[in-house]
Amino acid sequence: MTKLAQWLWGLALLGSTWAALTMGPTLGLELPLTCREVLWPLPAYLLVTVGCFALGTVGYRVATFHDCEDAALELQNQIQEARADLTRRGLRF
């Protein structure tokens, strides 16, 4: 099954459950009105929450993205060393 198919299945499952609970006759719910009031806007709430989570995660990862200053410095030094050594060995740059 492709990833797209998995997503569509998952969404179809959740979607149909939600639709059945909010629009069909309520079966065995003790407080039907309160539950329905929560259930009805749930997809919208979830979307917003997921959106915030995504932004938060990406923001955190950008903020903690490691800057390799020493790697850059080390490379600079090694470049000097390399050029000197290669010139000694006869390389014409």
Binding site: T2, L4, V62, F65, A82, L91
Partner: protein, 260 residues
């Protein structure tokens, strides 16, 4: 009788070299180049240094796509300096793309492991012994360098570039759940037969090609290990990460999402 004992102790001493690749492993580095006249000598020097310091059996295959800046001449000089058993020149007439460069390079590779990397000094050869160690540790089919985990990182990226990179990686992780943290990275170690198999199956180009390799690898149940690497970007100012690149990345990502 005596000769049997001698050969048995020789066999034992070969496997006693703990922590080092057994003498029969050979690592072929594929270096596709285009206009790398300045960088090629440096990257080769660093590769030779890393390999000889670690006692690793290696060869470097330079696949130049008809660079107009004299990359090929510099490569020929390097071949004279280091020997044609270590530096193999396998050029092509014109720019033909990365996938075909790997195929072309592998035809001439005598190693049983292949290392792919960029020739512009953004990938540092000092990580190669770590890749090898990791590969031995987990008997991995692929070892991928990651900029996003451990003490991996980048140098020379501004905020915009970092945001795009992390954002794209996030979307990729959500959609593809690939089991590897850095999909667009191109600093990797492959078993030769694994790379051959994967290239046969891959159809995309550019960034997406590297992503597709990992996705296909997971499909084929190959194991992937990761090693944090530092990516020193000296050419970002000149390289284009404009709207076009982003659009083609997204198109490729959605294609992979829908077809794998």
């Amino acid at each position: 009788m005596a000769s049997v004992e001698v050969s048995r102790s020789l066999h034992r001493s070969r496997w006693d070299q703990e922590g080092q690749a057994p003498r029969q492993d050979k690592f072929s580095v594929l270096l596709p180049t285009y206009n790398e006249r300045e960088n090629l000598p440096l990257i080769v020097w660093l590769l030779v240094k890393s390999f000889t310091e670690s006692g690793i059996n290696y060869e470097i295959i330079v696949i130049d796509d008809g660079s107009p800046d004299g990359t090929r001449e510099v490569a020929e000089q390097l071949e004279k300096i280091y020997g044609s058993d270590k530096i193999l020149l396998r050029p092509r007439e014109k720019k033909l793309g990365l996938g075909t460069a790997y195929i072309h390079g592998m035809k001439h590779a005598t190693g049983n492991y292949i290392i792919i990397m960029d020739a512009d000094l953004s990938h540092h050869p000092k990580f190669i012994p770590e890749f090898i160690r990791k590969q031995k540790e987990g008997n991995f089919d692929i070892v991928s360098g990651t900029r996003y985990r451990g003490n991996g990182g980048v140098y020379g990226w501004d905020l915009k570039r970092k945001i795009i990179s992390r954002g794209a990686n996030f979307i990729t992780q959500i959609l593809l759940r690939p089991g590897a943290s850095d999909l667009t990275g191109s600093f990797r170690l492959y078993r030769k037969e694994v790379l051959q198999k994967l290239i046969e199956k891959c159809v995309s180009k550019g960034y997406v090609f590297q992503m597709e390799m990992i996705v296909r690898a997971r499909q084929l149940n190959y194991t992937i290990g990761e090693v944090p690497i530092s990516f020193v970007d000296r050419v970002y100012g000149e390289s284009k990460l404009g709207g076009n690149e982003i659009v083609s990345f997204l198109k490729g990502l959605l294609t992979l999402f829908a077809t794998t």
